[in-house]
């Protein structure tokens, strides 16, 4: 893994110490843990009574009620769970755009979210797209211990889904970090990401060069993923058309997110630290 990415992970970890992941109530489900779940469990907090059903733990039968009413009644206690964050990173080459801060910002953002999740007593899994989705090495540890974070895939996340989808945990909070710059129908991948999730957040991470077309002049633009080239003379009309295309793409993703109940925001990589308010506004992060 490149040194600058490792440094970005450390920076993100440091930055994330100030935040905690906001866990929606629907996500209060998971493995037994230290956080109250939305179901009955085995904690000491009494929740309710209900009639005994075969299979219930005999230890929770309230014998006093049985003595009084001759009915087997069990006591219900609040479940204690550990919520979970599935962080999905776009591992395509476009996230590693040359002469931009995009790769570093992606690593920093992932580390920030993972640290915020830890602060919110969540477990986390980091998935990145490549030849299918894979777990990042050491992703259960602190971000500075993560390894093999390489953003060099030629596949789009959509294609990676088709090859090998990630094994998301049910009712986990899912955050998808990508530049979303690939042709295709956003709704399809969003539905897959949203399926079984407590919440889905889409963070579009763009380099400043992605958001702003270059100055006037002749350009030979090279696709970072496919290597395709195109020679274009940039003038004010072309620049406007580029901006329109970007706005149209973002709008299509925003519409798809709305359909799926996902939250979406856009962050400029070079301006990451000043854009964390956007993550708060979509209720992904909260001050710790």
């Amino acid at each position: 893994m490149r040194d600058e990415l490792r440094q970005a992970l450390r920076d993100g970890e440091h930055l994330g110490a100030r935040y905690a992941l906001q866990i929606p109530q629907v996500a209060a489900s998971g493995w037994t843990g230290s956080r109250s779940g939305r179901r009955a469990g085995s904690s000491i907090d009494f929740q309710d009574y209900r009639e005994y059903q075969p299979g219930d733990d005999l230890r929770f039968i309230d014998w006093g009620i049985y003595a009084r009413t001759d009915r087997l009644t069990v006591k219900l206690f609040r479940e204690e769970v550990v919520p979970h964050l599935d962080l999905v990173l776009d591992g395509s080459r476009s996230m590693n755009l040359e002469k931009s801060a995009k790769a570093g910002a992606a690593a920093q953002l992932a580390a920030l979210l993972a640290t915020a999740a830890t602060n919110a007593q969540c477990t986390q899994a980091v998935w990145f797209s490549g030849e299918g989705f894979q777990r990042l090495a050491n992703d259960t540890l602190t971000p500075s211990a993560w390894d093999k974070l390489e953003l060099d895939s030629k596949r789009t996340p959509e294609r990676s889904f088709e090859i090998m989808p990630p094994k998301f945990r049910r009712l986990a909070v899912r955050v998808f970090v990508s530049d979303l710059l690939w042709p295709g129908e956003p709704l399809q991948i969003l539905r897959r990401l949203r399926d079984g999730a407590a919440a889905l957040f889409v963070v579009q991470l763009l380099a400043r060069d992605d958001a702003t077309p270059p100055e006037h002049g002749n350009l030979r633009v090279v696709d970072s993923e496919t290597g395709d080239e195109s020679e274009i003379y940039i003038d004010s009309a072309i620049a406007k058309q580029y901006a329109d295309n970007l706005a149209q793409l973002q709008q299509s993703w925003a519409d798809a997110c709305r359909q799926c109940g996902a939250q979406m925001t856009t962050i400029i990589a070079e301006d990451l630290e000043n854009s964390l308010g956007e993550l708060e506004s979509i209720q992904l992060l909260a001050p710790a």
Partner: protein
């Protein structure tokens, strides 16, 4: 096709055109830039399959404006002209450069009066362009065309009036050629034209002279005369009545000796006297009068070049005859070491600087009585008559390379050739025992010619005294020559080959430094025609005809192209400021 080598500015400007094109080509080069995805560039994506395409060079309007401005500047740099109708005519002024223009009347010279007239003419009706021609011994155009009086005034200091003659007719002819019969010609002189009536409608002749009395030196010489120098001074009275003047003669640092010279109207008197050889400079002066330039002469000692001769003849009689004849010429040096001429029986080379005279009597038994064929243009044959002479020589033909000077039929009697080192080799086919040549004046003349020719080829000046306007010849050694004129002007000739002809543009003492040696020569204004001021007059002859027709004349169009280029650059500036034209 523009002759660009003639217009270096145009060539430089044109060189910027490819530079401009290169700037735009490089500017329009496609810069490579990696983007996240081409999905946002779909509007312009082109397939690269099937090989690269040739793209039309995309040049903005600014490029064409800049290119056009450059081309206009290139054209302007070539100095374009076009024909425009003109009412005023250009002027060509012929200036009399002879020293009679220096004659002073009431403290003002004819040259000053002519200059004042020219200035007044410029104030009243300045011509569109003016060219000056100096009428000296040869007409000479002064500088380039002047546009106004200040430019003319800058050229006028070259009008010095030191010439011994004024070739005004040649100058008018030159002016007519330069003016293409369109320019007005103005002659400024001190005498009237040869013909009383001037028929040329484009010629005006103005004279500013005055008929003044003048005493003048008209001849002066100082020649070697045995052990003394013989001086000749000729003084002329160019007055209408008898007059007396005072003559002062000073030799070296001795006190000047004065005497009165009385001459009748238009009379002249020659004074001949001898002075010792060692006298450095003879200076003679007449009383001041209207023309000061001919009142003084300076004569330097004559150049006595002697030739070191070695007589190496084996025949004693011939040797004695040769020595006797050489001594009689007076041109033989006292010593014969490092000889400059070797006289011998055979053609020997005695030194790198030595000429040879091969005097052979072998087989010279044929006595020729003539007729003799003499190459009178040859320096050896100068003054040789050979009338009634019997010349005995061997019957032979001239050797290859030999140029016969004297022949009897086809038999060369005297011939000369030059070798690769520049040395001369003379062959004398002569037997005095059967001849009468040695008893005639031709014999010493022949030897005098030989020594004189040899002396003339030795390095140094040919004369120590010269007339104003003549050339003084300097035989050089190949070393740099520096000439300092009487007014201090220095001329350096870094490499000279053989002979250098030195001009004498003004009277006085000239200094010539060649290598380690420095020599001097004197130049005197000795021209009777210029000293004679009786024919000088004031007046105007001829008048320029009034212009009635409209003439087409070449006029510079540089300003038009310059203005167009300026307009284009303003448009360029506007487009740049407005952000237009970049595409």
């Amino acid at each position: 096709m523009i002759p660009f080598l003639t217009y270096p500015l145009a060539m430089i400007a044109l060189a910027t055109v490819p530079a401009l094109a290169a700037i735009y080509i490089l500017r329009n080069r496609f810069r490579r830039k990696q983007v996240s995805s081409l999905v946002l560039w779909r509007f312009h994506v082109q397939s690269k399959s099937g090989g690269a395409k040739i793209h039309r060079l995309q040049l903005p309007l600014l490029f064409f404006l800049e290119l056009l401005a450059l081309l206009l500047l290139v054209t302007a740099a070539t100095g374009p002209h076009w024909k425009l109708p003109q009412s005023a005519r250009p002027l060509i002024v012929v200036l009399d450069d002879s020293f009679s223009m220096r004659a002073v009347d009431s403290g003002v010279s004819a040259q000053t009066r002519a200059r004042d007239f020219l200035e007044k003419l410029f104030r009243q009706s300045p011509p569109p362009s003016t060219r000056l021609i100096l009428a000296g011994t040869e007409p000479r155009s002064l500088g380039s065309i002047a546009k106004n009086w200040s430019e003319v005034n800058e050229l006028l200091p070259q009008w010095k009036c030191w010439s011994p003659d004024a070739s005004i007719d040649s100058a008018i002819t030159l002016a007519a050629e330069l003016g293409k019969q369109q320019a007005n010609i103005l002659v400024l002189t001190d005498h009237k034209p040869a013909g009383e009536k001037i028929t040329n409608p484009r010629l005006e002749w103005h004279a500013f002279g005055e008929p003044l009395d003048n005493f003048a030196f008209v001849n002066a010489s100082r020649t070697a005369f045995g052990d003394e120098d013989r001086c000749l001074l000729e003084i002329a009275n160019f007055s209408g009545a008898a007059r007396t003047t005072k003559l002062l003669i000073q030799t070296g640092t001795n006190a000047a000796q004065g005497s009165l010279v009385s001459l009748g109207a238009r009379e002249s008197q020659r004074l001949v006297f001898n002075i010792p050889t060692g006298t450095p400079l003879l200076r003679a002066e007449l009383e001041a009068d209207s023309l000061a330039e001919d009142n003084e002469i300076q004569l330097l000692p004559p150049i006595r070049k002697r030739v070191r001769v070695q007589v190496a003849l084996t025949n004693e009689n011939l040797s004695a005859l040769a020595n006797r004849t050489l001594d009689a010429t007076g041109l033989r040096a006292a010593i014969s070491e490092d000889p400059e001429l070797v006289i011998s029986d055979n053609d020997v080379i005695a030194g790198s600087n030595s000429w040879s005279l091969c005097w052979s009597t072998a087989g010279a038994t044929n006595a020729y009585t003539g007729p003799f064929i003499v190459d009178t243009s040859h320096p050896l044959a100068e003054g040789v008559a050979l009338e009634g002479v019997i010349w005995a020589g061997a019957e032979m033909t001239n050797a290859p390379g030999d140029i016969p000077v004297i022949l009897a039929g086809n038999v060369p009697l005297l011939s000369a050739r030059e070798d690769v080192a520049g040395r001369r080799h003379l062959t004398l086919n002569f037997n005095p025992e059967l001849s009468t040549l040695q008893d005639t004046p031709d014999w010493p003349i022949l030897f005098w010619n030989i020594l004189k020719w040899r002396a003339a080829e030795t390095p140094g000046l040919s004369d120590s005294n010269a007339r104003l306007g003549t050339e003084v010849t300097l035989k050089t050694t190949g070393e740099p020559v520096t000439v300092i004129q009487p007014d201090g002007t220095k001329a350096v000739f870094p490499k000279t080959g053989g002979e250098l002809a030195l001009e004498t543009p003004m009277p006085g003492i000239y200094s010539v430094a060649m290598g380690a040696t420095t020599n001097q020569f004197s130049v005197n204004a000795l021209t009777a025609d210029e000293s004679d001021l009786s024919a000088c007059t004031t007046g105007q002859w001829g008048k320029w005809s009034e212009d009635t027709e409209r003439r087409l004349e070449e006029t510079s169009a540089v300003w038009v192209f310059g203005l167009l280029a300026l307009g284009l650059l303003c448009a360029h500036l506007y487009l740049v400021a407005a952000g237009k034209g970049t595409r």
